[in-house]
Symmetry: C2
Subunit: 180 residues, 2 copies
């Protein structure tokens, strides 16, 4: 059985729509401190493998600001919690560089020695907040080629171009190849 | 026996000079992702108690920028790694607010139910880097009432006023009180 470990129902539905046979596992795995999401994901997968039988996927979706040389990355939630979207947009504006990358990494583990990563990336820019959203930084991320922020798009519209979709599709290709 | 768990020899010597009977334990404990250092310290202490007999101290020294509403805090090492001291000083300058706090928290555990915290704080400002240092952000932190950055002070000079000294002294008072 394939389990997607996530506390986020929306993320689960988005991935299931692509991957198909997958179950949600809502367990709380410790998140180590790192700016490389692969290290964070790997630690979670190894922890899950300790406690359960099965195949697991864990995802990380992070925002990388060019003017901060890659910050906040996976530390995004602490930025949102402290300075918020307005604070982040303000830093980009004052730096005179609003280029950003939204990146999803899906980590997949069958065993401790078989861990694979799949990436999806969307380039865009950081703008003053527009639109409402469940997802923290959607109001300040405007993907290149669009005049709306993620928060101003419908769920369908966003999911069509999202970094999570790209990563999930790469994972699916891999999984279909290794299927018995 | 009292153990100070740290990979940093300088920190150990600074604390031993005040606390006296303490041994260094250089083991690698996972650092959880949080902006509250007490949560990070508590997780490390609980992990140490799982594996060893004894009393333990773990310290966290963090830098809090007023213009970032408390960031980077314990995430400071990732800021240094990505944007460096110059990047941090630049953010403070562009925000027009260079107020900062350097804070050490020492966590002490005898058992899972007996965990205590001791704080030492030094107020100051973020300046363009001056001086060399082993400690990452010493060149950009100038304590209030001084015209030197931490990096421009001798070790003795810095240790006399440091946030780590204040926290260690508070811990010592507590320890002497509970001693049999």
């Amino acid at each position: 059985m394939l389990y997607f470990i996530t506390g986020n129902k929306n993320k689960f539905e988005e991935v299931r729509a692509i991957v198909g046979e997958v179950e949600r596992l809502d367990i709380d795995l410790p998140e180590i401190q790192d700016i490389d999401p692969k290290n964070i994901i790997r630690a979670k997968l190894l922890e899950a493998l300790k406690h359960r039988e099965g195949e697991f996927i864990v995802e990380d979706t992070s925002l990388y600001l060019d003017c901060l040389n890659g910050l906040p990355g996976p530390l995004i939630k602490w930025f949102i919690k402290t300075i918020g979207n307005i604070g982040l947009a303000d830093i980009a504006e004052k730096a005179g560089n609003n280029k950003a990358e939204a990146k999803t990494i899906i980590g997949y583990a069958k065993s401790r020695d078989e861990i694979y990563f799949f990436e999806g990336s969307v380039l865009g820019k950081i703008v003053a907040p527009r639109g409402d959203s469940d997802f923290g930084w959607d109001p300040i991320f405007q993907p290149d080629g669009y005049d709306k922020t993620f928060a101003q798009m419908s769920k369908e519209e966003k999911n069509k171009i999202s970094m999570r979709k790209i990563a999930a599709e790469k994972f699916l290709v891999h999984r279909n190849r290794i299927k018995p």
